[in-house]
């Protein structure tokens, strides 16, 4: 029998439920298991209700599961809110029991045990210990993880935590949990990674040298990760006074020769749209990560959404080529950053990477090998050195790409502007110059389109395709499995490369199926609109979720069935 267990730890902000989850994830990884975990919290620092929900499996899992096998309730509210999600035979572990032991309830005085172990601060270690014990995990494994996890702390801290773990283990020694299993799956299958880390690592692998940002959930995590690495990597990260400054700083940095990025969320992206246009007009490569959350306006700052797709494709006045990527997995997030930096410089256009709160704050065990380039090609022209006087930053060419140089690195002078201009970069209002420059910029679109990968097809020849993009892909993937297991002729098309839109490939694919349904985390099926705009093909139904929470595979398969009836 295959392992597929969900543990949900709930409590108040500030109680450290995340730590419990992290410890479980580390132990699972060490045991050679796969995990996928989500993080649910309110926009506040203390109190309220949050949870960490980890799915443990012996094969890759790409989405959360809607049922909970083990509910760790560090607050009374956790039980009230989540008891109903309990799977058959599921258990609630809590220190909040009011009405004593019940059949499905394990009451553990977590805080008392923590104090016994050395201090309240070890409560999370106790809690994780209880969970692991219930699930049958060998204590040694946990001990090793604790030693590693606290390796930079004092011996006392390590000992206290091991003690706490032990107490947790012992507390449920006798309890039989029928979902316990034998923990023996070989070596770790990969690395634990959340989307924020994946994006940041991708940026480092792409040799990003300058980053500027203004704090905004859920994007700040990327920058925290970059800053944490800035002692080792050649990168400067600056907290800007606002998002306008952030985007313009990276335009300046890129102009001056550094690969540069910023990250933000919807409201901040709004403020960056003018700078995006400057990058386009001056053909300065930049990478912007827009980590989506529900809006409009401040919306739900700590929730997730896929609702900025059409906005980012059209953002800023007038028309210009840009890349838009919407990675669906942590591995894709990492690779998207590599490609965004490379393609942005190759074509001298801005690149936007669309992620979301769910992607940023969820953790996956990534078992895909990630590309590490040996050298980073910068696409900088060297020709001007021979004939600096005749250098034209915006020389017309059939590809639309002009030789780019870095200021003050040679005799050739760079002249650039956000106004329309001549080939030499000086402002021009002449009709010929205007047409030449618009055509030059637009000319890039053809080759750029060829860079775009067609959407990934899962059972692409199925009668009904579920079509989605970005982080919803994980759930769609599992929904297809569920549906096919039940005998439905379902497949999927998952978009990670969005713009320039790979229209021909999409049209060919979609023409072959009987119907396609859009699965999106927004209320209007934005990718559906884009598909129709680009191919003329209309979807036959939608499965949309816009409450800010991640979508479960079963919600998709249920939606499918509802539509097909």
């Amino acid at each position: 029998m295959s392992i597929d267990i969900t543990v949900k730890i709930g409590g108040e902000a500030g109680q450290g439920i995340q730590t419990v989850g992290d410890l479980l994830a580390l132990v699972c990884r060490k045991a050679g298991l796969y995990i996928m975990a989500i993080n649910d919290y309110e926009s506040r620092i203390r109190g309220g209700h949050s949870f960490f929900q980890i799915r443990i499996a012996d094969r890759p899992v790409t989405a959360p599961h809607h049922k909970t096998d083990l509910l760790v309730a560090l607050s009374r509210r956790t039980i009230d809110l989540h008891e109903k999600e309990l799977a058959e035979g599921g258990l609630i572990m809590t220190d909040q029991a009011e009405d004593g032991e019940k059949e499905n309830l394990v009451s553990i005085p977590i805080n008392d045990l923590a104090v016994e172990a050395g201090g309240k601060i070890t409560a999370n270690t106790v809690a994780a210990g209880v969970c692991l014990s219930l699930l049958g995990a060998p204590f040694n494994l946990y001990r090793e993880v604790l030693s590693e996890h606290f390796s930079k702390k004092s011996d006392k801290v390590i000992q206290d935590n091991i003690k706490a773990a032990e107490l947790g283990y012992k507390a449920v020694e006798k309890r039989v949990f029928h979902r316990a299993f034998h923990w023996d799956f070989g070596q770790p299958k990969g690395m634990l990674m959340d989307g924020a880390k994946a994006v940041a690592y991708g940026a480092l692998a792409a040799d990003c040298r300058v980053a500027a940002f203004y704090p905004m959930s859920p994007a700040t995590g990327i920058m925290a990760e970059l800053i944490a690495r800035s002692d080792v990597f050649p990168i400067v990260v600056e907290q800007a006074e606002d998002e306008i400054a952030a985007v313009n700083m990276i335009v300046g940095a890129s102009f001056a020769g550094a690969r540069a990025m910023t990250s933000t969320s919807g409201g901040g992206f709004c403020l960056m749209t003018e700078g995006l246009g400057l990058a386009a007009m001056s053909e300065t490569p930049i990478v912007i990560v827009n980590a989506q959350r529900p809006g409009p306006a401040t919306g739900l700052p700590t929730r997730s959404s896929q609702s900025d797709l059409l906005f980012v494709i059209r953002a800023s006045q007038d028309e210009f080529p840009r890349f838009v990527f919407a990675p669906g997995t942590v591995a894709e997030a990492y690779e998207s950053m590599l490609r965004a930096f490379d393609l942005s410089e190759r074509y001298q256009v801005p690149a936007i990477v669309l992620t979301d709160h769910y992607m940023h704050t969820s953790v996956w065990l990534n078992d895909t090998e990630l590309t590490v380039p040996d050298v980073v090609e910068r696409h900088i022209a060297d020709k001007p050195a021979d004939d600096p006087d005749n250098y034209n930053r915006f020389a017309v060419s059939t590809s639309g790409i002009s030789p780019r140089i870095i200021p003050c690195t040679g005799e050739a002078l760079i002249v650039s502007t956000g106004n329309e201009h001549r080939e030499d970069g000086h402002i021009s209002e002449a009709i010929d110059d205007r047409i030449a420059m618009v055509d030059k910029r637009n000319a890039k679109m053809k080759a750029m389109t060829a860079e775009m990968a067609p959407p990934e097809a899962l059972f692409g020849d199925a009668g009904t395709l579920l079509v989605g993009w970005g982080s919803a892909g994980g759930a769609i993937r599992e929904a297809v499995e569920l549906l096919r297991d039940e005998g439905y002729d379902a497949g999927a098309l998952l978009f990670a490369d969005i713009w320039p839109f790979p229209a021909d490939a999409v049209e060919n694919r979609l023409k072959q199926c009987k119907r396609f349904l859009m699965v999106e985390m927004n209320s209007t099926a934005q990718l559906g609109s884009l598909i129709r705009e680009q191919t003329g093909l209309a979807h036959s139904g939608t499965i949309l979720k816009y409450d800010g929470r991640p979508i479960y595979p079963v919600e998709i398969s249920d939606g499918f069935k509802r539509i097909m009836e």
């Binding site: 690395m191 690592y201 480092l204 692998a205 040799d207 040298r209 300058v210 500027a212 690495r229 800035s230 002692d231 080792v232 990597f233 050649p234 990168i235 400067v236 600056e238 800007a240 006074e241 306008i244 400054a245 952030a246 313009n248 700083m249 990276i250 335009v251 300046g252 940095a253 890129s254 102009f255 001056a256 020769g257 550094a258 540069a260 003018e274 700078g275 400057l278 001056s282 990630l370 590490v372 380039p373 050298v375 980073v376 600096p388 870095i406 200021p407 003050c408 040679g410 005799e411 050739a412 002078l413 760079i414 002249v415 650039s416 502007t417 956000g418 106004n419 970069g425 000086h426 402002i427």
Partner: protein, 282 residues
Amino acid sequence: MVDVNDYNNEYENKWCPGCGNFGVIAAMKDALVKQAIAPHQILLISGIGQAAKLPHFMKCNMFQTLHGRALPIATGARMANHDLNIIVNSGDGDCYGEGGNHFLSAVRRNVDITLLVHNNKVYGLTKGQASPTSDMGMVTKIQRHGVISEPFAPLSVALSLGAGFVARGFAGDTEHLSYLIVEAMAHRGFSLIDILQPCVSFNKVNTYAWYKKRVYKLEETGYRPDDFEEALRLARQWGDRIPIGIVYREEKPTFEDKIPGLKEGPIISRRYDASKVKQLFT
């Protein structure tokens, strides 16, 4: 040898005849030549406005950007390569209006750039609306009953936020302005020269004659720009007598000095190392 002709280009100048900007550009060229800086060794960054067009009228590296955004662009450029020698040309609307927030931050950061604000106390390029520095009561087509806001006080605000080089120049005195630019560029850290610049087309109040009657040179008064309190007082002097010159000067560690990652030289000059990336995955 760098010659002023090295800085001349053939691009058509688009300012009105008699504009104060001609004084500014002359002073800039003079200051650059005096410092023996060649056109390929300097980078001009500007926003949008009449002032911000200046870089087009000079042969050198340049980037004219967006209205109000020259300072973050310049800051970003210095983050990438702090060997760059950057002058920012901005207007009073550009720098203290649309770009007001960036001005505050650039001062606070002490980024090592030289900022020249061509302060004509009016929006020139958009045809004569009041700017943040327009004097109260100034009448324009838009401010029909006169400006009703207190004018922005660039020198006082810069001083309040710890600026290390605060000066005022006058576009009608090229020689003095050139001297200020040389000093500002020599200063390590952020330097501000707010330049009184007549706009012959839209500002009928603050004309050459108006200024000539009023300005006096601090250098001629024996003033030494190292007394903060006195600097604050001078920064506020306006009306019958208007000081020009260096109001305050104090060297402090710069933004670039304080970023550990820049100790080894410009960040763009560092080497990409694939092995470090690989280590991330272990």
